[in-house]
Amino acid sequence: MRLLSVALTFTKVAVQQQLAYRGEFLGAFINAFAVDTLNAAVSVAVIYAHTDSLRGWSAGELLVVVGLFNVVLGVMGTVMFPSLSRTTEDVYEGTFDYVLMKPVPSLFFASTHYVQVGRFVNSIVGVVLCAFGLFILEAGALTWRVALFPLMLASALAIFYAFVVAMTTLVFWAVRLEGIESMFNVFFRTSRYPVDIYPKWIKGFLTYLFPVAFVSTVPTETLVGRDSGWLIAVGPVIATIAVYGATRFWRLGLRRYSSASS
């Protein structure tokens, strides 16, 4: 409860700071809202102008996939990336000492203390796209699987939170970590489309090794009532292992930290 109120305070401060730059905020807002939505709509429209099904996925289903990709991208861009990338700078500059001195768990502070408000627009766009997709699907055929949707979405967020934490932890060895977010994003963008469109070995890679399948493909399947087989069970398992592993790795990294000259 106390941690929650601390996180809320971080968010409040960030909102106040960032609304001060109104031009920038507006630019980001217009970009994410109008242009991203338009982008997604155009790409889906273009594809389905030439076919009725993309490896078995209809236009409505694809919109839900693109929507969920944006939802997760928004959450990661708002909270996880800004905080953790500041943490890598802290370690480089030695100011990480102050993080360790705070009366909250270091990983909690490192992953929540800086919020980039503007990026949340991505999530809003995502929700709009999902709603539009479900509207096209005339989601009358909701099945019991829908109940699993929140669990699937939570798993996706947990898996990628763990990924980002693990990558950030590398800073304790590498000292300087630049461009990690870009590297991550390159692969993360593959979840804009269902993993079914990729060749088998890439699909395998995106399901088990860099599991973007759980960002959009599997949650969409639960939402629209497609059968994703045993992957439904795999998601939460991977999520649990990943988060556990990442926190252990973080602690291991902390032991390497040698203050200002690390």
Partner: protein, 268 residues
């Protein structure tokens, strides 16, 4: 030596210096190379799936594959390196020493652009070849189109550089120009030839895409290479490419001249 010759030899020396500099950031190059492959592969996969064993809008499977392989080359040549240099120059006042030099900083930026692309090409061109030899697309190669591809590519690179520079020069007025440039990129993504070849865009959108500048920084050179364009489409394409470059150059000159008047040595 005439002014032009001196400017030119100055630009060559700067390019050499910049090549040395660009080699410092190897990790950046790796990330760049990855992004260069993954994005086009994504849309290659989409259109491969749509085309199936047949064709989509006149594109055989081989055409689709070739389109996105050539896309990698074009997007490398039109990658806006120079844009990022302007913010610190203008906002932090680092432009001042450049103004003392007998060469316009836009030339410095252009040489840096060229140097980065040449060095990075050494890294990414094996990837292009590997892509071609792994997938082995069935594609009727045509020397005529390959020759026309060269000017289309160079003009696209020039236009992309001009756009990037204009966006960068906007730093004279705006604290953060990235949101605006990113709007440009996002539109170019939709109707510039990444999501789909322009020929596959539905009716109205296709007409708009042909008129606007985005296609001339990405899609047009690829279309020239693939060779689906008719004679008059080719002429119209090159003409519009030239028109947009002229518009861009005018705008760039205007921005530079009025921006430099606003500049106050310690930044803006």
């Amino acid at each position: 030596m005439s002014l032009a010759a001196r400017t030119f030899s100055g630009a060559i020396s700067l390019t050499k210096a910049n090549i040395a500099q660009a080699l410092h950031y190897r990790l950046v190059l790796v990330i760049y190379a990855l992004r260069q492959i993954v994005n086009p592969l994504l849309y290659m996969a989409v259109w491969w799936a749509v085309a199936g064993d047949g064709e989509v809008g006149g594109f055989q499977r081989g055409d689709v594959v070739m389109y996105y392989i050539v896309f990698m080359i074009v997007s490398h040549a039109t990658w806006a390196v120079g844009y990022h240099q302007w913010w610190p120059l203008i906002r932090l006042g680092r432009l001042s020493p450049h103004l003392m030099r007998p060469i316009n900083p836009i030339w410095v930026s252009a040489s840096g652009d060229l140097a980065s692309k040449l060095t990075a090409a050494a890294m990414v061109s094996p990837i292009w070849l590997a892509m071609y030899f792994i997938i082995r697309p069935e594609f009727p190669f045509d020397w005529g189109n390959a020759v026309l591809f060269v000017p289309a590519l160079l003009l696209a690179a020039a236009l992309a550089f001009i756009v990037g520079t204009c966006m960068g020069l906007a730093s004279f007025w705006v604290a953060n120009t990235w949101p605006f440039y990113s709007i440009w990129h996002n539109i170019a993504f939709s109707i510039g030839g990444q999501v789909a070849p322009i020929a596959l865009l539905p009716g109205e959108i296709q007409t708009i895409a042909i008129g606007l500048p985005f296609r001339y920084t990405i899609g047009f050179p690829i279309e020239v290479f693939i060779g689906h364009l008719q004679r008059d489409e080719l002429i119209l394409g090159f003409a519009l490419q030239a028109v947009w470059i002229a518009v861009g150059l005018t705008l760039m000159t205007l921005l530079w001249r009025s921006g430099i008047k606003r500049y106050q040595a310690v930044g803006v």
